[in-house]
Symmetry: C2
Subunit: 225 residues, 2 copies
């Protein structure tokens, strides 16, 4: 059976990737990163999602270093999470330096060790977050680099970076996930990581808008609604 | 003052990079990775090297995950470190999956946060180790990917990956280092990580040959000599 490593945050997008990879016949190897993010609740959600899909192995990787160096509203307690992005041209304060590159590097090492053919990541260039490491040109470049860095690249057995949501709107992602029975009730998207999602941060707003447009109801509870 | 992050293992090559970057006028920000390597003694040596260069900050990054997933003679206790590479065509058992990609990803995040212009890494394609992630095509691709993944890439302020030893033989590296007063007495290269270097692993043999050809004397002690 072919194997896929899934970068699983416990959010809506990465959980949708679990559903898509399962549908494509992959054995799922979710990998969740703990990096001192304020929305650390995600890690608990990721465990529930992994259990839902009955995976044989769910690795949680500690990258405390990202928290130690700071530089992001998501990891640095001295930087506030903005309630809404003021200037859409700027990279948001919630950008975590080189995060997806770090995640994909570690995921590729894992893929190589377990003999996986693919690494799934739930980034999207539509409803653009403003994060440089969500762009297709980054994913493409990373895919090439990974195959130069690993054994796979020298033996011809490629590890492919798969970003199935890259060209989907949030609405389309949710439609796809609902059709695949993705357990959105187990996910969280809020940057603030309180018991209930805030409903006001950028990430909550984007999620709520997506459900509204998809004509579905977001199954999770919000503090502000 | 311009800043450089130096991937510092405490070995001969990365310590030479410290000397080269210092000579080029960079403020040095060494970054040392602890990943359950058998030659963990390196980390202690790296601290001594950092102290020698009187750096203001020396970060030690724990990547226990690399040890947890195994797959290398350097991190997996069930795989022996070979005394000599039998088949030079094969990737050696000491290859650690995607190691340099992981190191450079984390180093780039750090570079972005502290505003460094360069990340130095002591890889070489001469006296080729057989590691895919020591090849110039990997470094080139990684450099491009990093600049797509980070803020630097969108603002035009590049972070450059600098591999000053890429085209040097071990002899030439040592000659360069000796001319720059690099403290080789503080370094270790042995894969086995005992009190004294073994003098028989691939890494020790390459180092000893380098000193011999450079006409210098290796200042460290060897168990087998």
């Amino acid at each position: 059976m072919k194997k896929a490593v899934i970068v699983l945050s416990g959010g809506l997008d990465s959980t949708t990737c679990m559903g898509i990879a399962a549908e494509q016949g992959y054995a799922l190897y979710p990998l969740t990163f703990h990096y001192g993010q304020k929305h650390n609740r995600e890690v608990e959600q990721a465990k529930k999602v992994a259990a839902h899909y009955q995976v044989s192995e769910h690795r949680i990787v500690d990258i405390a270093f990202l928290n130690q160096i700071g530089g992001s509203a998501l990891t640095d307690s001295s930087i506030a999470v903005p309630s809404e992005q003021d200037d859409k041209e700027e990279i948001p304060a919630t950008y975590v330096p080189a995060r997806n590159m770090i995640f994909l590097s570690l995921a590729s090492a894992y893929a190589e060790v377990i003999g996986a053919q693919a690494v799934f990541i739930g980034v999207s260039a539509v409803d653009y977050s403003g994060y440089p490491d969500c762009r297709p040109e980054f994913i493409q470049s990373m895919d090439e680099t990974i195959n130069l860095a690993t054994k796979a690249g020298t033996t011809g057995e490629r590890i492919s970076i798969v970003a199935p949501l890259m060209h989907l709107t949030k609405k389309e992602t949710i439609e796809e996930g609902l059709a695949l029975g993705v357990p959105y009730e187990l996910t969280t998207s809020c940057y603030n990581g309180e018991e209930e999602a805030c409903g006001t941060c950028d990430s909550c707003l984007l999620r709520l808008k997506g459900f509204e447009e998809a004509g579905g109801r977001d199954p999770i509870a919000y503090a502000s609604r």
